[in-house]
């Protein structure tokens, strides 16, 4: 349904506007001098009330032919054809009204003005509808941003990770109590760091990296010699402000779909550096291309992509590539040094 019908206030405001237009139209029709006020009004008021509804129809055409994505010529032809059609209806209705009141010939001198006005009003309504659609789209984008952030925060602690950790601790308590205690401390560190992130829009790359390091240390206990980590991160990146937990899913993915699929394990390589004022992060890992298909594939990575897009638009990208037995995720986004 057209959004104008969603509440009575906007509908009455809209109809009020058309009543004023009806008065203006009556004044215009009087200029040639063949009609008096009451005659002009008796034509213009019903005419404008009718046209008020005709001018709501662009809503459907505008939605079908959005600016930017629809072909320009196709858009112009369609909208102009609709305008001509609407205007024909407008003139036809005006003539019919005049005819029923025996004013037919007296309307004739005002017809050229009526044609121009009918076209203009319709095209103005087309423009207004495009503006309306733009407002709706931006409102929707805001909702999507919030959703993506919420999803990211909800998934910050993967239950699978947590329970596996607790199982490792449980195993270590009898065989190696010191390591069990170390792991408790590491896990607590990680949980404490992630807990406060909900209220913050950005954290420094230093903090994000620290979080990833703690996470990897915890996983190191689980996977032992199967997990090898290489890091090459420039110090220059440290103060870049990044969305919290933007790196975390990449690391998690490298473990779950990479290291965990290999009997002998493998290496996760993390690189970070500044490139033309942008932070470029690359996470590379080995994986078994013939591993059983994962059950929940790519949800974390899709979340990262959504968050980067809503935050940075076209200035950021996430590029994934699988080649033989190496998988890489490369993420590039603007590096702002102060909290935005």
């Amino acid at each position: 349904m057209h959004p104008i019908f969603r509440n009575t206030a906007t509908l009455s405001a809209y109809m009020g506007l058309w009543t004023i237009l009806a008065a203006a139209l009556a004044a215009l029709m009087r200029i040639p001098g063949d009609l008096n006020w009451s005659q002009a009004l008796s034509i213009s008021v019903p005419l404008c009330l009718l046209y008020a509804f005709v001018c709501l129809t662009p809503w459907y055409i505008c939605r079908a032919l959005p600016l930017g994505s629809a072909q320009v010529t196709r858009l112009l032809i369609n909208q102009l054809a609709a305008a001509v059609l609407a205007c024909t209806l407008w003139i036809g209705a005006a003539r019919l009204l005049a005819f029923t009141m025996d004013l037919g010939p007296r309307l004739n001198p005002a017809v050229p003005q009526l044609v121009v006005l009918g076209l203009l009003l319709y095209l103005m309504s087309v423009a207004l509808h495009y503006a309306l659609l733009a407002v709706e789209a931006s409102r929707e984008a805001a909702v999507q941003t919030r959703d993506a952030e919420l999803r990211a925060l909800k998934s910050q602690i993967n239950p699978h990770f947590l329970f596996n950790c607790l199982n490792s601790i449980s195993a270590l308590t009898s065989s190696d109590p010191v390591r069990a205690r170390d792991m408790c401390v590491l896990l607590s560190d990680f949980l404490r760091k992630t807990l406060g992130l909900g209220e913050r829009a950005s954290i420094s790359w230093r903090e994000e990296l620290e979080l990833a390091r703690t996470y990897l240390e915890v996983e190191q206990v689980r996977f032992g010699a199967r997990l090898k980590v290489e890091m090459q991160v420039d110090d220059g990146c440290a103060d870049c402000q990044v969305p919290p937990l933007v790196l975390q899913p990449l690391i998690e993915n490298a473990i779950k779909h990479g290291i965990a699929t290999m009997v002998e394990g493998g290496t996760i390589r993390l690189e970070g550096h500044i490139e033309d004022g942008r932070l470029a992060v690359r996470v590379e890992n080995s994986f078994d291309p013939e591993a059983p298909s994962p059950r929940r594939h790519g949800l974390g990575l899709r979340n990262v992509r959504d968050r980067l897009r809503t935050r940075f638009g076209d200035a950021a990208h996430l590029h994934l590539a699988a080649e033989h037995d190496r998988f890489s995720a490369e993420m590039v986004f603007p590096c702002h040094k102060t909290i935005s």
Binding site: N164, L166, S168, S170, A171, V263, D288, P292
Partner: protein
């Protein structure tokens, strides 16, 4: 009598705690420990254990695929951290499942159930392959089929599967001029295959649509599908209707 058990988990620490608990319980002898699905299938075939402790997410073959490839009567206890889909399947057929981390009491209960099941000679209601189908998340189609050939495990990616043929209680999976027998019903594998890529063209045949070269008339009422490698499969009338829908009129 001591139960003979195999532990399958890719994490050393996870195997370690199970070993420790079982040693303490005293009624179970661990005959092997495996770190991946291939080893597990091989060990079960060679050692014929009574009991299998099976993790789900593992390299090579996952827990469900292992379950498909081993022969009864092995009682399986799943040991996993968290898997919402798996839980559904456990209810259907596994002896029990242990959620990591678990207590010695909980393990004792699982062992009790395993003993009860092993002493009861009734066959299991569900076949392992059907159980694996039930465990698959809705909407997710099979991406590969696992088949055991003696002690060898063959993995057939779906893209390389030409057609499936029903043979009594078995299905024959034809792939690259070879065929593999598997104990599963044709209806159950039909439900696991992507209906946009595979069609049941006959009571006994499912075909990979990409392999069809042409359809030829056979008798008044029936047709044959000729595959790219020259194989000919019978096509029933309803099978032909299905093919027309999927491939268009000009087949």
């Amino acid at each position: 009598m001591k139960l003979r058990a195999i532990i399958v988990d890719d994490e050393e620490l996870a195997r370690q705690i199970l070993r420790e608990y079982l040693d303490k319980a005293g009624e179970v002898e661990i005959v092997a420990e495996c770190a991946n699905g291939f080893e597990a299938v091989k060990a079960v075939g060679e050692l014929r254990p009574d009991l299998l402790f099976l993790d789900i997410q593992m390299p090579k073959l996952d827990g469900f695929e292992v379950l498909e490839l081993i022969d009864p009567p092995v009682a399986v206890i799943f040991v996993t951290a968290y898997d919402q889909y798996a839980l559904k399947a456990f209810d259907a057929a596994a002896v029990d499942y242990l959620l990591k981390p678990f207590s010695t009491d909980r393990l004792a209960k699982a062992l009790e159930r395993a003993r009860a099941l092993l002493s009861d000679p009734q066959p299991r209601a569900l076949q392992a392959s059907d159980l694996a189908a039930a465990a698959r998340p809705p909407g997710q189609m099979l991406e590969r089929v696992v088949v055991k050939d003696g002690t060898r495990v063959n993995i057939i990616p779906i893209a390389k599967l030409d057609y499936v043929e029903a043979q009594d209680d078995y299905i024959a999976l034809h792939s690259e001029k070879k065929h593999y027998l598997k104990q599963q019903t044709i209806s159950s594998i039909e439900a696991q295959l992507d209906p946009a890529r595979f069609a049941r063209v006959h009571r006994s045949y499912i075909v990979n649509l990409e392999r069809i070269a042409r359809i030829e008339p056979y008798t008044k009422d029936s047709r044959v599908a000729v595959l790219q490698d020259g194989s000919q499969l019978p096509v029933s009338r309803s099978g032909y209707t299905k093919l027309k829908e999927l491939l268009g009129e000009n087949i």
